[in-house]
């Protein structure tokens, strides 16, 4: 009856790939973005040497650090297989809360702590709706976007918050000669990267994003982790708010339009798969720097301000297409 044919193993022993190949396999997209930044710096420097003046570098890195910080949380959310289109509105709300507290005379540490705590609380609600009520995250955050955007404008009536106490403006200060936002960005990116790479929690996010059902069967508490990742994302939004709200003497009641799209794009261009399960927070920070560099470089090579967004859009598109071609080549 038996029709089993005796056959030798079919696959040869796999060799352990070398360090460089492994680095490129694990951080391919991050390296591409890094290379793009370096090339861009080199080219623009040749055209206009003032590009790398300390002043301009501060503008590039410190002025956009809040986007990078928000993108860290966003990367974590997307890695877990979700998305958040409300983060821009959230940052606007948190900035108003923080500024109002500061102007009202509360100690600055309260004005700094409040956005972080409120951000965590708001996103805990969002996370709970996603995890327990099983509403797709894009729907929940679309609703949250309307609620927070509408609420912000009707609450503030469009007025700006002025007369911020100088002690509050932490983003304008320096430590060891480095601007605080830069320090924030680097420290938070490194900590988050290590945590995502080596902690059980971080690894479980990749597992959930890769295959949520399997993660559940493996004993990972998927619902709790989903809420947790949104809460952490809220904390990063709060930290981003501190940098955003304290960089100027005033807080506008409107956040930069489409901030959420910028943050999502940063995460995705940095190599986070929109389908979840892969990517790193290093990539999202590098991509933020790339965008900031592009924006600054265009001014330095005398592109009209009116055409700035078109050129940035074109470059984003080019990066997306290049990434797709690279991935296809690998398959």
């Amino acid at each position: 009856m038996s029709v089993i044919v005796d056959l030798p193993p079919t696959r040869p022993a796999t060799e352990r790939p070398g360090f460089l190949r492994r680095l490129f396999a694990d951080y391919g997209q991050e390296l591409v973005v890094l290379a793009a930044i370096i090339v861009l710096f080199a080219v623009v420097m040749l055209v206009n040497p003032r590009f790398i003046s300390a002043n301009n570098l501060t503008t590039i890195f410190a002025g956009n650090a809040y986007i990078a910080v928000a993108a860290i949380g966003m990367a974590m959310v997307i890695i877990t297989g979700h998305i958040d289109v409300s983060v821009g509105a959230l940052i606007g709300v948190l900035a108003t809360i923080s500024g109002t507290l500061a102007v009202a005379g509360y100690p600055v540490w309260i004005a700094w702590l409040a956005p972080v705590l409120v951000g965590m609380a708001v996103n805990a609600c969002i996370g709970a709706l996603v995890a327990y009520a099983r509403i797709p995250s894009i729907v929940v955050t679309l609703g949250a976007l309307s609620i927070m955007r509408g609420g912000l404008i009707s609450f503030t009536g469009g007025t700006w918050i002025t007369d911020l106490p100088p002690a509050f403006l932490i983003a304008q200060k320096s430590v060891f000669g480095l601007p605080v936002p830069l320090v924030f960005m680097v420290v938070l990116t490194v900590l988050a990267a290590l945590w995502m790479r080596y902690s059980a929690f971080g690894r479980s996010l990749y597992a959930i994003g890769g295959n949520a059902e399997a993660a559940l069967a493996t004993g990972i508490p998927v619902e709790r982790r989903t809420v947790a990742v949104f809460v952490i994302h809220g904390a990063f939004a709060g930290l981003a708010t501190i940098l955003f709200a304290t960089q100027l003497q005033v807080i506008q009641s409107t956040v930069p339009p489409n901030l959420e799209l910028t943050v999502i794009t940063a995460a995705v261009i940095g190599g986070v798969s929109i389908l979840g399960g892969s990517g790193t927070v290093i990539g999202s920070t590098l991509a933020t720097i790339l965008f900031a560099t592009i924006g600054s470089a265009l001014i330095f090579v005398n592109v009209s301000a009116y055409w700035l967004r078109a050129v940035i859009g074109l470059l984003i598109l080019a990066t997306v297409l290049a990434d797709m071609l690279r991935r296809r080549g690998r398959l």
Partner: protein, 503 residues
């Protein structure tokens, strides 16, 4: 052999939405035995093993471990009690490494709560070595591994939790023969170490080669438990189906006519190299080969999914170039794919809509769908192919594997194909439906359809084919007539040209 059972289930019952999935079933596993669990799809095997692994809680019945009654509130409880499961659809995470997959959820920690990554890697290495899997890099991402390698990662994962009982749900369903051999060696080795194994499979040869005892379920009820020495295959099959099955491979005699399909020097990538063959009206041409040998790639090239880079295809003497499935369909080529759930069906859609999907133009006047005609054709197809369903509005996802496969076949028959390519037509299909699908194939060839049948199951290839093509490393390594076909000859050809495949 008569050791006390480690785990025993008594009087287990479970209902879903009022339908009894399991009624009063008892089952036990002793340390150091392989206990095979048999039954058609829908017989209640999955429900039973899901209760044993803590995924479902029973409506009635008790589970005892080492004589003490327990309750599993979650998979964690079951795994703490020493029960681990290797599911059919492997629960691995493609972006994580082998070592991470093995220890996910219970990483060894350093004081302070940090994961001890060097310990994780070292212990994974040791576990894989125990399974004689020296060729697997613990740092490789799982997405780069073959199915058989992934399965060994799953087994290592089970062992990492010191499993006393290992449940294996159709572990060989997607393995090639050589990997089945390695898996069976692993199972035997685990048994010697005192692990109790629950082995769910449709494949009789494996059950007779491995099992100590066998339990049969039918329609959610318990049929019998026997020592393997007491039963033979025919008896087991009739216990499963509830009726005797005359012949497993009812080869219908059909008149073989003119050549329909003629393929010359076909090429696509590494997996289709210089293939030439012909297929005649009323003929079943079996295609044998290991997974990765290029069988499915050949089908995809003929079907226009991955168009040929060179070579010629001619249909009824006319040379054609096929660059899309749509074009293949228009030329009279149909393809019933290997991955039914992903490629064959739209599971949420009704049977009616699935049946008309590949020939929707024929059910339309202008751009409007003629709903009445569509429903009529679907009813006919359901009746003709004996699809067991509530009605034609039922979503296909709710049907059993065999009935789903019949819907895929029905969909393609609506296009009146000249050439029907069947890729693993009976994988994951229970014994009864399998015989019915073979009967359908027989009827089709009688009507003059030419069938190209790809199968990993050697008995099926040998039993059904008029002629057998053997492919290895993307090349043709044998063309054997029915009369000359023996397992040994086909097996020899399957492993020829091994060097071509290594990469």
């Amino acid at each position: 052999m008569t050791a006390a059972p480690y785990v025993s289930l008594t009087g287990m019952s479970k209902s879903f939405v009022g339908v009894k999935a399991l009624k009063d079933v008892s089952f036990d596993v002793r340390p150091g035995e392989v206990h095979a669990l048999l039954g058609e799809n829908g017989a209640g095997k999955s429900t039973l093993i899901k209760m044993m692994s803590g995924l479902y809680s029973p409506d009635a019945g008790t589970i005892t471990i080492d004589g003490k009654e327990v309750r599993f509130a979650s998979t964690r409880d079951a795994s703490a009690a020493g029960i681990a499961t290797v599911y059919q659809e492997l629960l691995l995470f493609p972006e994580l490494t082998v070592a991470e997959n093995v220890f996910l959820g219970n990483y060894p920690r350093r004081p302070g709560g940090w994961i001890d990554w060097s310990e994780v890697r070292a212990r994974t290495r040791a576990l894989l070595d125990q399974l004689d899997t020296f060729d697997l890099d613990v740092d490789a991402k799982v997405l780069t591994l073959s199915v058989a390698q992934r399965q060994r990662v799953e087994i290592a994962k089970a062992l990492s939790k010191d499993a006393r009982i290992l449940i294996m749900d159709e572990p060989t369903a997607s393995l090639v023969e050589s990997d089945v051999q390695r898996l069976m060696a692993v199972v035997r080795q685990l048994r010697e170490r005192g692990v109790g194994i629950v082995y769910v499979s449709h494949r009789m040869p494996e059950i007779f080669a491995l099992a100590d005892r066998v339990t049969v379920l039918r329609d959610g009820g318990y049929v019998a438990t026997r020592d393997i020495g007491e039963v033979d295959e025919a008896e087991l099959v009739s216990m499963m189906v509830g009726r005797p099955i005359d012949s497993l491979f009812p080869k219908a005699e059909a008149a073989i006519g003119d050549t329909v399909l003629e393929v010359k020097n076909l090429n696509h990538g590494r997996h289709v190299q210089d293939l030439s063959f012909s297929l005649r009206r009323g003929e079943i041409l079996g295609v044998a080969g290991l997974v990765g040998s290029g069988r499915t790639e050949l089908a995809l090239t003929l079907f226009g999914m991955t168009p040929a880079t060179s070579g010629s295809i001619s249909l009824e003497g006319r040379t054609v170039s096929i660059t899309s499935p749509r074009q293949a369909r228009d030329l009279g080529i149909a393809y019933v794919p290997e991955d039914r759930g992903q490629q064959g069906l739209v599971k949420q859609m009704a049977i009616r809509k699935n049946v008309s999907m590949a020939s929707i133009e024929r059910f339309s006047s202008g751009i409007f769908i003629k709903a009445g005609e569509e429903a009529q054709r679907a009813l006919d197809a359901v009746k003709r192919l004996r699809v067991r369903c509530r009605n034609i509005a039922q979503p296909v996802g709710e049907l059993s594997g065999g009935n789903q496969q019949k819907v895929v076949i029905a969909k393609w028959l609506e296009t009146n194909p000249k050439v029907l390519i069947l890729d693993e037509p009976t994988r994951g299909v229970d014994v009864g439906a399998k015989a019915e699908i073979h009967t359908i194939m027989g009827e089709l060839v009688k009507q003059g359809v030419a069938i190209l049948m790809i199968s990993s199951e050697l008995p099926e290839v040998l039993g059904m084919s008029d002629r057998i093509l053997v492919i290895s490393g993307g090349r043709l390594t044998g063309e054997i007539d029915r009369a000359d076909a023996t397992p040994e000859r086909v097996g020899m050809a399957m492993t020829a040209h091994q060097s071509g495949e290594a990469a």
